[in-house]
């Protein structure tokens, strides 16, 4: 994914200032920065989640495989199948574990018949590292799972429609350290097949899971570099001050 000079306004207030950033394929890109810096806003631009917010105006270019995602001809539902999303709080549908995963493939017509759907559900749950834990209770409600399991269920739901990119908005902030470790392990697995963009407030997590890191401040992209570089020797003093806990 490629973004060029992306600016965004919530009504009168400008929240993003000409952000240009190339998201590398099959890598994890972390977006970090203090609250209100625009990182989540930017993330939501990538699959047009901001469209539903009233008074939002976006300028600039966002391309997925060379295709402008804001083009009039783009079907937003199709776009979100290609660019999936996982949110801060696990938000399974009030349905069974099975149905949570089957929903996407069904509306997108990705499974031919029950047996095929069973395979998709199993593969997705396996991909999210959840299958072994839930295989005997696929009909149980999704929200009967623990927080960490629910989050992995949401990841299974996202990967069930075979997206190219998965956006994660603070996927671990509501989870305990063990559940967080499971998700981080999963992210490491997922990046073999998917491109991942993750917003996180946990800097150590960004350092651990990502290969590239972008630091945002007041709606501007301050620095974007290899993760190793950002966390050991950033070029910008503002990045250094933020990641070492000197302002926020």
């Amino acid at each position: 994914m490629v973004t060029r000079n992306v600016s965004l306004w919530y009504g009168e207030k400008q929240a993003l200032f000409e952000v240009s950033l190339d998201v590398a394929e099959r890598q994890v890109t972390a977006l970090i920065g203090p609250s209100g810096c625009g990182k989540s806003t930017f993330l939501r631009c990538l699959n047009r989640m901001n469209d539903v917010i009233e008074g939002v105006r976006i300028e600039g270019e966002i391309r997925l495989d060379g295709e402008d995602v804001y083009d009039r001809s783009v079907d937003v539902v199709q776009l979100r199948a290609r660019v999936g999303m996982v949110f801060q709080k696990p938000n399974p549908f009030p349905k069974s574990i099975y149905e949570n995963v089957a929903y996407g493939p069904r509306i997108h017509g990705l499974a031919a018949g029950k047996a095929d759907m069973d395979d998709v559900v199993e593969a997705s749950l396996r991909g999210a590292g959840l299958f072994e834990e839930v295989k005997d209770r696929l009909e149980a409600p999704g929200n009967s799972l623990s927080g960490g399991q629910q989050q992995r269920l949401c990841i299974a739901r996202a990967i069930a429609v075979s997206p190219e990119v998965i956006l994660m908005d603070e996927p671990c902030s509501a989870l305990d350290p063990i559940a967080t470790a499971h998700i981080e392990e999963l992210i490491d697995e997922l990046r073999r097949n998917f491109t991942i963009v993750i917003v996180t407030h946990n800097m150590q997590q960004a350092a651990r899971v990502s290969q590239s890191t972008a630091f945002f401040h007041l709606g501007k992209l301050i620095e974007y570099d290899d993760t190793d570089r950002i966390f050991t020797n950033p070029k910008e003093s503002m990045t250094q001050d933020y990641i070492t806990g000197r302002f926020g």
Binding site: M203, T232, N233, D241, I243, T244, G245, R246, F247
Partner: protein, 225 residues
Amino acid sequence: MATDHIVKSYDEHIALLTRKILEMGGMVEQQIARAIEALVNRSVDQANQVIEQDDQIDRMEEEIDQFAIRLLATRQPMAGDLRLIAMAMKISNDLERIGDYATNIAKRCERLAQEQPIKPLYAIPRMAQIAQAMIKDILDAYVERDADKAITVWHRDDEVDDMFTSLFRELLTYMMEDARNISACIDLIFVAKNLERIGDHTTNIAEKIHYIIHGERINRMPSSV
């Protein structure tokens, strides 16, 4: 690294780490001075004091390591802080080695006190002075976070190396002149070699200071300064 951390105790702990390194560096510097003094005065007592003092330097290194590990665990430092804390562990290790070399010199004193005095002893105190000055300057560079000063010290090591080479040649001629000089000359060669190694470890510290400040190694091909 001009601004302060949001958490004040983090700044205090980093300052404390710096003070511990300085304290250890000061002790090491003094050990060299005393070892050379013992050598010049042919004093076994003074030499023994140096040898006894070495334990304290070893303990200091342990203390710095433990403190740095605690900071790594509790603060999960990043960028400049991470470099500073990680390098404190390596610098304390260099200082500990320098302390060992001072002790080695003191141990040679005991043997040398039994031997006939050899003429060129003045060259060794001169070499020791430079090594000591390098340590003093490197500690200043460390506390002032002054990479240029560190590089200056780094280049000064050439001087110590040159002195070692010429001293070695000189002692070789004494040994050829009179076989009875051999034992004392060999001891002096070891003393000079220890001083030369002290210079090397001081340049290691210079490299670490450069890394703390710039996040990059000193270019190992020295320019003609």
